[in-house]
Structures are given as structure tokens and as C-alpha cells.
């Protein structure tokens, strides 16, 4: 049996290679959708989703390729969606920013910051009322913690004692604004004022550590039925939206980037990269081919599924 480390590594590498493929394809304009790449942040999605069942519901943001894949949704349908094809997970109407796959409990990803956090709380309310025994997860960035609905969601989940895991992926950036320009508070410390348990991990590249903490957290949530917050420090390798590197722009430093890369297993563990690359590449090529061969939606699709 494959070790836990290898399993998580494989999943993380797969996500990175999928996004690197997107970068390769992007200049061709075959993908006409704003992409918010997860490169550098894969370990967070993998460490969380490894502890979820398909019946556990997860809501994410526009930076959600990693969650879509980690939650077990189909790669062919993802590339087809990015290509705007009818075989995509959203029939081409979703694009990169609105990936979702109900059958695996990946319930939605919104382009409007923080909008899905409350959805996870509502799903947890339904789970509790209908005795479904699910954990509902909201993932979001540090910028989302500035929105009122983040605070409304934490308060509601705490008052109503709902089984929600709130995960903040803190990459320290909101587009090009650094966190010190925006925050008077520390996310994991401030969350405790809502009378819920909150934890912090510095090593957002370490899927083993994230997996272990999330495993423990989810067990506690299932046992107590109470919400928790986890804040994970991470690093966005690419620009906010698009495929470029923007470390030449002075809002952030190449030194931080170098430090992060020096501990990133997806760069450092060359042995496993070599072991897995071929298999992953084959899967990606097949998915891209599926997208290329698929049809665009019929004109009549414009008017379906509104009401």
C-alpha cells in the first residue's frame, strides 16, 4: 500500500501539474476564463480534503482548482469547463471561477470574496437539523476575513453550535495589498472571540502536518458538533489572476519566494516527482484531449437552468 506521504504528495503534484498545463495552454486563448492559480497552496487543499468523505460538503472561492481536484472531482470535466465546453462540470457556464461538482460534495466556488462562507454554515445547519452527520467546510483567503459575512458566519455557527470547519488560507495578499495594510487583527486569535476553537499552522507547504491537524480537527468537530477555525500560512507563487510571475513588482519580495520554494516538497522531492510525473502527464493529456474534442454548448443552452 502506498504511504500517506506518497499519496498526499501525488495529489499535490497532480494539482500543480494540472495548473502548469493551464499555464502552457493559456497563451493559445483556448481557455478564455480568468484563472486564479493555486500553485504554492496545493498542500492546504490536499491536507483538508484527505480527511473528508464525499458526503462532507466543501465551499470555496475563485481560487479553487486545487479543491475541485482534491475533493475528487473529474479532471476531464475540469478541462472541458475551462475550455467552455458543454461536457464541463458547469456545461461551460461556470469557467474557472465557478467550479463545482455535487456528486463529490464540492458545492460551489464564488468570484465574490467571502460569499460562500455562509453557505457552509447553512449546510451545517441543515446537516444538524436533518441528522446527516456531515462536516461542512468553508475555505477562503485572508482577504475574505475582512468581509462582514465572515464574522456573521462565525458568530452564527458558534451560537447555533454547527459542525463547520472554517479554513483560512492566509497567503498574505489580497490582489496586491499586503496584510499589514488591511488587518488590525490576527485571524486565528480574533476568531476565538466568537467562542470557538482556533488553530494556526505556519508550514502551509507541509501536507503531512496539515493533514494531521485537520484530521484531529474534523474528529473533534464530529465528536462535539462545534465549529472550529484553522488558519494556514501559505504562499501564492503566481500573480493574483492570470499565469504570470510578478515577483519583479515591489509589493512582494523574491526572498520570501525563494525561502518558500526551498522547503516546497513539490520542488525539492525530485525522486517522487520523477516517479509520478509520467502517470500524471498521461492523465492530463487525456483530459486536455477530452476538452479539445468536446462540443461547445448549443445556442439553446443560453436560456436553460435560469428558473
Amino acid at each position: 500500500m502506498i504511504s500517506l506521504y506518497k499519496n498526499l504528495f501525488y495529489q499535490s503534484l497532480r494539482i500543480r501539474m494540472v495548473e502548469e498545463k493551464i499555464i502552457e495552454i493559456y497563451p493559445s486563448d483556448k481557455i478564455q476564463s480568468p484563472v486564479h492559480l493555486s500553485i504554492g497552496q496545493e498542500a492546504v487543499a490536499v491536507g483538508i480534503c484527505n480527511n473528508l468523505l464525499k458526503t462532507d460538503l466543501l465551499y470555496s472561492s475563485y481560487r479553487s482548482h486545487a479543491y475541485y481536484l482534491a475533493k475528487g472531482a473529474n479532471l476531464n470535466k475540469m478541462f472541458a469547463e475551462l475550455y467552455g465546453k458543454v461536457t464541463g462540470c458547469g456545461k461551460g457556464k461556470a469557467g474557472s471561477m465557478h467550479l463545482a461538482e455535487k456528486s463529490v460534495g464540492f458545492m460551489g466556488s464564488s468570484a465574490v470574496v467571502a460569499s460562500t462562507i455562509s453557505h457552509a454554515v447553512g449546510s451545517a445547519l441543515a446537516s444538524k437539523r436533518l441528522n446527516k452527520n456531515q462536516v461542512c467546510v468553508a475555505t477562503f483567503g485572508d482577504g475574505a476575513s475582512e468581509e462582514g459575512s465572515y464574522h456573521e458566519s462565525l458568530n452564527f455557527a458558534s451560537v447555533f453550535k454547527l459542525p463547520v470547519l472554517f479554513v483560512c488560507e492566509n497567503n498574505g495578499l489580497a490582489i496586491h495589498s499586503t496584510i499589514d495594510q488591511r488587518h488590525s487583527y490576527k485571524i486565528h486569535e480574533h476568531a476565538k472571540s466568537y467562542n470557538l476553537k482556533s488553530t494556526y499552522i505556519e508550514e502551509g507547504y507541509d501536507f503531512m502536518k496539515i493533514n494531521s491537524l485537520i484530521s484531529e480537527t474534523i474528529n473533534e468537530i464530529k465528536l462535539t458538533g462545534l465549529p472550529q477555525v484553522v488558519e494556514i500560512k501559505t504562499y501564492r507563487y503566481k500573480e493574483h489572476v492570470g499565469i504570470g510571475d510578478d515577483h519583479h513588482v515591489p509589493y512582494r519580495s523574491s526572498k520570501d519566494f525563494d525561502n518558500w520554494k526551498s522547503v516546497d516538497p513539490l520542488i525539492q522531492d525530485k525522486t517522487l516527482i520523477n516517479e509520478f510525473s509520467e502517470k500524471i502527464n498521461a492523465e492530463i493529456e487525456a483530459a486536455v484531449n477530452f476538452a479539445e474534442q468536446s462540443e461547445f454548448p448549443a445556442d439553446s443552452e443560453l436560456f436553460t437552468d435560469i428558473y
Binding site: 460562500t116 447553512g122 461542512c136 458568530n155
Partner: protein, 359 residues
Amino acid sequence: MSDTKTVISYREALYQSMNTALSESPEVVIMGQGVDDHKGTFGSTSNLAEKYGKERVFDIPLSEEGNTGIAIGAALNGLYPIQTHIRNDFSLLAMNQIVNTAAKYKYMYGGHFEVPFLIRMIIGRSWGQGAQHSQSFQSLFAHIPGLVVIMPSSADTVLESYNYAVQKYKGPVISIEHRLLYDYNFNSNYNSNSNSQFKENPFTSRLIREGSDITIVATSIMVIEAQRVSDYLFREFKIDCEIIDLHAISHFNKEMILKSVKKTGKLIVADTSWRAYGVCAEISRIVCETDPSMLKAPVVSLGMQPTPCPTTKKLEDLFYTDDYTFTKKIIELVKGKNHNIPMTERSMNEAYKNFKGPF
């Protein structure tokens, strides 16, 4: 059941629909500010928490955006939430969730998700409601594809629409109620044996009075006004108005309106909100885009004055359309400006005169 008519108030119809929702559909929860308190959302949810349990009828924090997102998430996982805004004005705090997520959820993800829930919003009027307790936002919501927006004007339109929304419809429904309708009594056929077409298709318009001289398209409490004015004009001057209760602001019966205007050649639109960019503008657009030659006279629209709502009675009386203006506009359209019909003095609908605050 007999098929004799019963008389019930708007408030009783709301209560019945909430009670039916809870008793017939175990997935229904009612979540709103004060839904479980001693006033029970103006009597429409009174004692339901005691009857069905605080797990199903419960008060919530004052977090409109979060609460609406929570209702959406709950709907995505098997509940049917009914939310309340005790004034329409508060719903603006929930606009992100209503417009950016509820209205989009089915379409944006390719038809794989449904968000069935009902949001009730109440318009205030009179006794000093002022600028932020009096607004009427049907056109804001109906502008957005994906939302069903209704304005029930009677007990039966409440019962038909709410029972259908909860039991049959799979998407978000926004219902804008009028606080001053709560005390009105209506003849109700809903519980009789008669199988109303509107039980199966409530999100449409209703022809509530046939007439040959003029078409009145009205919303919410303006339907009551239209009926009062029409009865008076027919009784006194044999002016015969046709009244269409628009009801489904997002899904009104266009053919019904066009057919009526083709017959009468005259159109008045009477809405509870501002005229610019609203229901009045939309109904005029439909007629103009179809065949403006069906009009024998320019369209007249009635709504709030283009100002925020003032609090003092003196100015508030000028802000809303009164019966005198309504009557005058109809007579002028039907008989021309030199009609020689004696106009009675400025009067007000009894509800506005009798309504005592504070809320």
C-alpha cells in the same frame, strides 16, 4: 370541504401558509428576526415556534447577508428556509447573497444545483415610516434573471403562491408583502373544492375585473386602490375599468396585458414604488415594443414621487398617489381633459387613515 366562500384577512392567509408549510413539509424552517417572539412578524408566525419547536422556527442574529447565505447553504443541503425581513429596506443588506448567489446558483454551475427558499419582505407605509421603512424594491429584484418576484395583493394570492413555492418550486422566491394589507379581509376560495388554475401556476398575473374603457395594471396594495376607484367610477359614472393584478413582477402575464390594452386602448400602471426604471417603465416598454398603435392615448403611470419618503404626514400625503389623483387620471384618460365630471375632494384609503404605528 364545502365550496362556500370564506372571509379571511391577509394576515390569516400568511399565518395559514406558514402553518401549512411547517405541517406539510418537514424540511421547512422559518428563520427571521422576531419570528418566535410575542408579536410573531405582525401575527403571521405567532405561536408557530411553540407548535413546531424552536428547531424549526427560530430567531437569528441581525446579519442579513450572512443569514441569507446560511439559508442558501441550508437549501443546498435539504432544508426549505423561509426568511423574513420586517421591512423591505433591510433586504438591501442581503443583496450580495440574493443577487450574486441565489439568483445564479442553478445557472452558473450548469443546472446541477437548486436553491429552493422563500424570502418574505414587508413594505411599510404611513404613520411616519420615513425614508428607510417605506421602500418597495420589486424592480430591483425583478431586474435579475433567476429570481421569482411576487407581490401578493390578497389572501388567495398569498395562499396560492406560498403553498406552491414551498411544495413545488425549486428556486428562490422573493415575496414583497405590504404591511397595510395585513388587516384587510378578503373573500377566499382557496380552501374550497374549486380547483383554481392558480394553485398550479401561481407565478403569473390575474385579471380581477373585466371592463371596456381602460386597463389598470396594478401591484400590491395598489390593486386594492384600483378596485375601490373602479367601483366608484362605475357606480357614479359608468366608467368601466379592467384591472390586472400584476402579482408576478418577474413573470407577469404579458399576453393578458396586451390583450386588455388592445381592447381598451388606454393604460394606467399603478405601482407601489418609484416610476423611473420600475414596473411602470417595464409595462410601458412591453406595450411600446409590441405595438404602440394599440394605445389611443399616452400611458399614465402612478407611483411614489421621485423623492425619498418624508416622515411628516403633511408631506407623506403628497408623496403617495391618493384616490383623488387616481380617479382624476382615469376620468381624464377615458373622457378627455374637458370631462365636466365633478371631482370629489382629496380622500385617502381607509387603511392609511386608520393605521396606527409604531410599526
